[in-house]
């Protein structure tokens, strides 16, 4: 067998980078249709109010403004958006607004400037209604936001394993705490955007969409516009980050596509940063009332958790986040008995929907913080309590009690390796010495499992191009992850060609009929396996074609080192280019093959993180001195890109640990609506992150791939709170809220939250 170069496993820089770095990437905001109208929206300034009247005349009269649309004008825009139960928001608010930023009227004009001038002139009269800004208050149903749902609690579930709550009686100690996570706004670098152009001649609608799933968008848009799905083409051009919030329906998607068809005019909406803060989904906001039952030696007996998720005004995708929180509560620890109650509650804020992690960080936050609390209360070491409860490799397959079956890896070995890298005894000495000089150092430790994929399918279509290159099309639309590099590496290996012979096309419904999209760390698992499967079928079809062209029996055709030859006659062979040329000469249709990978089995990557922080007691500032990760990504396609995912996720988690929080006042007004006030961590705030791999191929899929996109963000919020507490272990500091901003830490230290 001939040897060809293996592209899988190489740390290749992204093939995408050159164009993006040179500013040649085409994003939705770079799309300009001839004669397009630009949309700006009149958004609600109230968190909850009745609309009593809307005056649009002045706006409509403005030169350059073509139309001002309210829900009164078009029945279709009053209907609920697709894919939202038990209630769906309308494209435009009809008689009531439920959050600040909810669209009330759409202004179509020649430019965004004029559209905003028009929006300024629309006068909406409101009658204020009572505002709900706390989930636990809203859960009392004193005011019910959506009477058709009957309650503000629109998703409630109970989950019990083992003896449930009763098992607390078997524990020597029950540790109780109320733990909270603040609301975060994911803020991809490119705000949401969509542009659509309708061709009345053939009844087709072309949509450029900053979305994570072109095929799901295609289905929704067909529903909204009443067009057949086949008449709607959705293309995701370059997309500048998604993190989950560019997945699923939004009012702007319905408005742009419906109005483009209605007016037979291309329409574009490119959201700005302010709109991204007001109207794009947010996440993380939960309050947990937790009880952890432990034995004297720290062995976990039972976890009982009742939590409330402040979901905002509509479902969004929040119930999935809440349920995934439950699934992640055990983390990598053995918990024989559990009772979990989760309540997802409407309030007057923008809706929650899955954001990178989507319940994984929340669940891990709870168990990790409770282990710290238990260790502190029992006088045990925070290291020892983790080691004692980590699931061992001989316990696989391990049923968590929350619908997961962990299958691979060695959690205790990874944790032990982490501890030795950190050299915990040496750190403790340094910590003591530093404390004597008034310098506070703290160590945070955390273990995590990343549950990825486990549902649906993803397809890959391969097509032989005239020049012998192969086009790989997939519906797994990327948002900057580097799919065009990683999927090309996989296909290059299977087709025995150099990576530059593969052209990956993501996110175009015209290139592949079916697809699901990129979210939940699924693309390499799903589209990666599909690429290998499609390549196998593609090679078989190519062999048939080669047999025909070489006038040989198919069984005699050998594919080796990128060439098709007849067994015993190695001098006569065709490579992909020759095959393409000969096919073209013979008048054959281009060779193409599509296959899909389906799997109901999730992958279970894992990791152990350690952070050393230095805290300034006088200012409340926390600086991260060192951050070390032991990481399992299964079979790795491109270590550079995989590590990029881990680092990016970790830093986003650090943001939610130290800086990022959407603050709303009692009237439901968001106060942190610019990058001045909503603080994302920048380069100066990001530590150097050391990553050490311990990769265990996933047993649940042929290639052994595991998810990696959410790995970093899962533990990196909890770990910082843990480390900051450790810096004040002599004062028994307890932190119950993330992020721990300087002012929050100051309050915790001065308000007697220490003993």
């Amino acid at each position: 067998m001939a040897v060809h170069e293996s592209w899988i496993g190489k740390s290749l820089p992204r093939v995408e980078d050159r164009a993006l770095i040179q500013g040649q990437g085409q994003y939705v905001s770079d799309i300009r249709f001839d004669g397009q109208w630009v949309m700006a929206l009149v958004r609600s300034p109230h968190a909850h109010a009745r609309i009593t009247r809307i005056d649009t005349e002045a706006a409509a009269a403005l030169e350059g403004v073509h139309a001002v649309i309210t829900a009164k004008d078009m029945e279709a825009l009053r209907r609920g958006l697709p894919d939202s139960t038990p209630i769906a928001p309308p494209a435009l608010a009809y008689d009531e607004v439920f959050y600040v930023g909810e669209p009330v009227a759409a202004v179509l004009a020649d430019s965004r400037y004029l559209a905003e001038d028009g929006a300024d002139l629309v006068q909406v009269h409101y009658e204020a209604l009572p505002v709900l800004t706390s989930a636990e208050q809203a859960a009392k149903d004193e005011v019910v936001l959506h009477p058709s749902v009957g309650s503000n609690i629109f998703d409630a579930f109970h989950m019990t394993s083992g003896d449930g709550r009763d098992a607390l009686q078997q524990a020597d100690h029950v540790i109780r705490a109320t733990l909270q996570m603040g609301r975060v706004s994911p803020q991809p670098m490119e705000p949401r955007a969509i542009a659509a152009s309708y061709n009345p001649a053939d009844g087709t609608l072309l949509v450029y969409h900053a979305t994570q799933s072109v095929h799901r968008a295609q289905e929704r848009i067909a529903q909204i516009t009443g067009l057949d799905k086949e008449k709607v083409r959705v293309i995701a051009p370059e997309v500048g980050g998604g993190f989950g919030v560019k997945n699923g329906s939004y009012p702007e998607e319905a408005l742009v596509t419906y109005l483009a068809k209605h007016f037979k005019r291309p329409i574009k909406w490119a959201g700005d940063r302010f709109e991204e803060f007001l109207s794009t989904s947010q996440e993380r906001e939960q309050t947990h009332h937790v009880e952890l039952g432990v034995k004297q030696d720290g062995t976990i007996i039972a976890l009982v958790d009742t939590y409330y998720q402040d979901n905002g005004a509509y479902p969004g995708g929040g119930a999935m986040v809440s349920r995934n929180t439950a699934r992640n509560l055990p983390g990598p620890y053995r918990i024989p008995h559990m009772h979990i109650e989760g309540y997802t509650v409407f309030t007057n804020k923008v809706a929650q929907r899955p954001y990178r992690g989507a319940g994984r960080p929340q669940g891990h936050y709870i168990i990790e913080r409770m282990l710290d609390r238990a260790a502190d209360e029992l006088g045990l070491d925070r290291v020892d309590i983790r080691t004692r409860n980590l699931i061992r490799p001989d316990e696989f397959p391990h049923r968590t009690g929350t619908d997961s079956v962990y299958d691979s890896g060695d959690y205790p070995a990874a944790f032990a390796e982490l501890l030795s890298l950190i050299d915990v005894p040496a750190f403790r000495r340094r910590q003591r010495e530093a404390r004597q000089q008034g310098i506070r150092l703290g160590l945070g430790l955390s273990n995590s499992v990343e549950i990825s994929a486990g549902f649906g399918f993803e397809g890959v279509r391969l097509t032989l191009m005239d020049d012998g290159r192969v086009m790989l099309a997939t519906g797994a639309t990327g948002q900057g992850q580097g799919h065009r590099t990683a999927l090309a590496q996989i296909a290059a290996d299977a087709l025995h060609v150099s990576i530059d012979r593969i052209m990956v096309v993501e996110g175009d419904t015209a290139r592949i009929d079916k697809g699901i999209g990129t979210f939940g760390s699924r693309t390499i698992i799903m589209a990666g396996n599909a690429a290998t499967m499609a390549s196998e079928g593609f090679v078989e079809k190519a062999k048939n074609m080669a047999a025909q062209l070489l006038e040989a029996a198919v069984d005699d055709v050998v594919f080796s080192d990128g060439r098709f030859s007849v067994q015993g006659v190695p001098s006569v062979s065709l490579d992909w280019r020759a095959l393409a040329e000969r096919m073209a000469e013979a008048g054959e249709d281009p060779l193409t093959h599509e296959d899909a990978f389906s799997s109901g089995t999730p992958t279970y990557g894992f990791g152990s993180h350690a952070a050393i922080v230095r805290v300034d007691e006088n200012t409340g500032e926390t600086r991260i001195e060192r951050y070390v990760i032991i990481h399992d990504t299964g079979k790795v396609v491109n270590p550079l890109l995989a590590n990029g995912q881990v680092i990016g996720g970790t830093v986003q988690g650090l943001g939610s640990a130290l800086y990022e929080e959407m603050i709303f006042n009692e009237d439901g007004q968001p106060l942190t609506t610019s990058f001045l006030d909503y603080r994302l961590p920048g380069a100066a705030e990001s530590p150097d992150i050391e990553i050490h791999h311990r990769d265990y191929p996933a047993p649940g899929n042929p290639a052994g791939y595991k998810g990696v996109g959410e790995a970093g963000i899962i533990p990196s919020q909890a770990i910082i709170l843990s480390a900051v507490e450790d810096a004040f272990s002599d004062r028994r500091l307890k932190l119950d809220f993330a992020p721990v901003t300087p002012t929050r830490l100051f309050q915790a230290l001065t308000r007697g939250e220490t003993e």
């Binding site: 965004r112 700005d272 200012t619 001045l676 006030d677 100066a684 300087p742």
Partner: protein, 292 residues
């Protein structure tokens, strides 16, 4: 985030600029645009007329006047950060500049813009108070007048300049004796500070205080300074205990408010911490400089 309609003029001389300012009820001066342009894009500022002063050469001048340095209103942050004349005259300026925003902001932003914008959490207004800078302002009808720093800042984002007046020149008295230092606490690199403390100390031969000045930012509606409190320490022996005492007394004298970024108590503690450190470091440098 697009501004509403506005008129725009780009005068080539001071006289033209003053005419333009006098011609409109709601004119605004465009210098570096680092605050005004975002505010216009958010439609929080809606000037009817924008007077772009970036093409008036005399506003860019830096002039050494012996005891003082004259800085034109258009001198940009990066010049304040790097110009040797400025560093020699008032070393605290380049020190403070490193705390201001990011390089892109410092490339565009101007000294006149920062002072006229009068953000109490900005660095230059604190230095203006500490260094007793004088602001020269011009108007078409009123001619020129000079406003000392302590009369210049009125409240949050408000100065005592009239709507038709243009800040043209900042007169910075040279720091002749002692040493100075500035400290601030910002949540992230480049953020507006939660609190700023600047101090200037000169010592007598015996180590007692000859003069001491200190100013705070971010703790009220204008930069804070209290000369009476300062003079009460003259003649006292400089020591760590004294710096702590001054920090404490200043923290008690200010009246910060709670906002979403920091509680009043936190700001008070920051002011105390930063001022103590600032005085300590300034005194240390003053001692080094005089060879003691």
């Amino acid at each position: 985030m697009k501004p509403p309609v506005f008129e725009y003029v780009r005068p080539a001389s001071l006289a033209e600029a003053l005419d333009a300012l006098a011609s409109s009820e709601d004119a605004k001066v465009l210098a570096g645009g680092q605050s005004l342009i975002p505010m216009m894009n958010m439609r929080l500022a809606r000037p009817g007329l924008l007077v772009d002063i970036n093409h008036i050469p005399e506003l860019t001048e830096i002039h050494d006047n012996g005891d003082t340095l004259h800085l034109g209103a258009l001198v940009r942050h990066y010049q304040l950060e790097t110009d040797a004349r400025i560093k020699a005259a008032f070393p605290l300026i380049p020190e403070a500049e490193r705390l201001i925003g990011h390089p892109a902001i410092r490339t565009r932003g101007t000294i006149g813009g920062s002072l006229s914008h009068a953000d109490p959490a900005a660095e230059l207004p604190v230095l203006a108070m500490l260094g007793e800078w004088n602001m020269t302002v011009h108007s078409r009808d009123g001619g020129a007048r000079t406003i000392p720093a302590e009369e210049f800042f009125m409240s949050y984002l408000m100065t005592t300049m009239g709507p038709d007046e243009l800040l043209t020149r900042i007169t910075v008295p040279k720091q002749l004796a002692g040493a100075s230092h500035i400290r601030e606490f910002a949540v992230r690199s480049g953020d507006f500070a939660l609190a700023i403390a600047a101090a200037m100390v000169s010592l007598n031969g015996d180590g007692s205080i000859a003069t001491v000045r200190f100013a705070l930012g971010g703790v009220g509606d204008v930069p804070w300074r209290n000369r009476e409190l300062e003079s009460s320490f003259v003649g006292t022996m400089g020591s760590d205990a004294l710096w702590r005492d001054i920090g404490r007394q200043a923290a008690l004298a200010i009246d910060p408010v709670d906002d979403m970024h920091a509680s009043a108590a936190h700001r008070r503690q920051l002011a105390e911490t930063l001022l103590t450190e600032s005085l300590h470091r300034a005194a240390e440098m003053a001692r080094e400089r005089s060879g003691r």
